[in-house]
């Protein structure tokens, strides 16, 4: 997976980059299944491999699919990235180990969801009951974000409705509408 990401960095053909990002998200989804997050894997599979790839291809069709040549390594950003990475890794040293049962994350709200949601809400899928019921506000706001994004796309690149009186349809369009 990391190899996919690194090779995306080097490839200059944007088409290949898009295909690799599809593979990348497939791997991410497999990883989620392994880490018990089946719902997340479901979403990632549908969104990352399907919709994202199609949208990226749509953009490439409208722009250019080759990247311009650039300097091989940009040293300033590289140093910045390495320093940030080092700080973050230093930060993880204090973190609870992977899979630790006593980690602080598992001690606060989650036990209540796991123990009570079956009686309080009903559905066996805890993720669904937390998503729709306990954290309904979050999901409402998030749905609003999706709505706004779609409206935004329409506003930015949506075609303007043609004024039919000014502009008679071309012969080609007529032929298509007839067939």
């Amino acid at each position: 997976m990391a190899a996919t990401a690194v090779s995306m960095l080097w490839l200059r053909d944007l088409f290949a980059v898009v295909m690799l990002s599809g593979i990348y998200s497939l791997f991410a989804a497999v990883l989620y299944v392994v880490m018990d997050a089946v719902d997340v894997a479901f979403t990632e599979a549908a969104v990352g491999a399907g919709i994202s790839t199609v949208l990226m291809l749509g953009t490439l069709a409208l722009t250019k699919s080759k990247e311009k040549a650039h300097k091989k390594v940009a040293y300033g950003p590289l140093v910045l990235v390495l320093v940030t990475g080092a700080i973050l890794i230093y930060g993880t040293l204090d973190m609870p180990r992977y899979g630790d049962v006593n980690a602080p994350v598992h001690s606060h709200v989650a036990p209540r969801y796991i123990e009570k949601s079956g009686d309080e809400v009903g559905p066996p899928n805890i993720v669904t009951s937390v998503l729709a019921s306990y954290r309904g506000y979050d999901t409402l706001g998030e749905t609003a974000v999706v709505f706004t994004a779609a409206i935004g796309v329409l506003a930015i690149i949506g075609r303007r409705r043609k004024n039919k009186k000014d502009e008679p349809p071309t012969a080609k369009a007529k032929g298509e509408s007839a067939s």
């Binding site: 690799l20 399907g50 509408s177």
Partner: protein, 96 residues
């Protein structure tokens, strides 16, 4: 045990496909590599479900199979026509 061996084999196969995807000289190598990787991850997820003895997550594998097909169609269409919405009528109403 059998499932573990199967998972290992699938991982090797994925590695081979990935190599093709990275180095692939032509576009079609890459398309095939992506498609193969998708199919292999479908199998991997199914096998993993049996490995952990909760095989009810086959839904995900099913979804993968469907999405993989759509992705491949989109990619091949892009390669052939340089665009996604090819037959598009000029007489259509606009979006906004």
């Amino acid at each position: 045990m059998m499932f573990a061996a199967a998972a290992l084999g699938i991982l090797v196969a994925i590695a081979l496909a990935m190599f093709r995807a990275f180095s692939g000289p032509t576009v079609f190598d890459r398309i095939l590599a992506v498609n193969t990787t998708g199919t292999l991850s479908v199998i991997l997820i199914s096998v993993y479900g049996f490995l952990t003895e909760r095989p009810e997550f086959l839904d995900i594998a099913l979804l993968y199979a469907l999405i993989n097909f759509i992705g491949t169609v989109a990619v091949t269409k892009f390669v052939q026509f340089q665009g996604l919405g090819y037959p598009v009528g000029d007489h259509e109403d606009g979006d906004v």
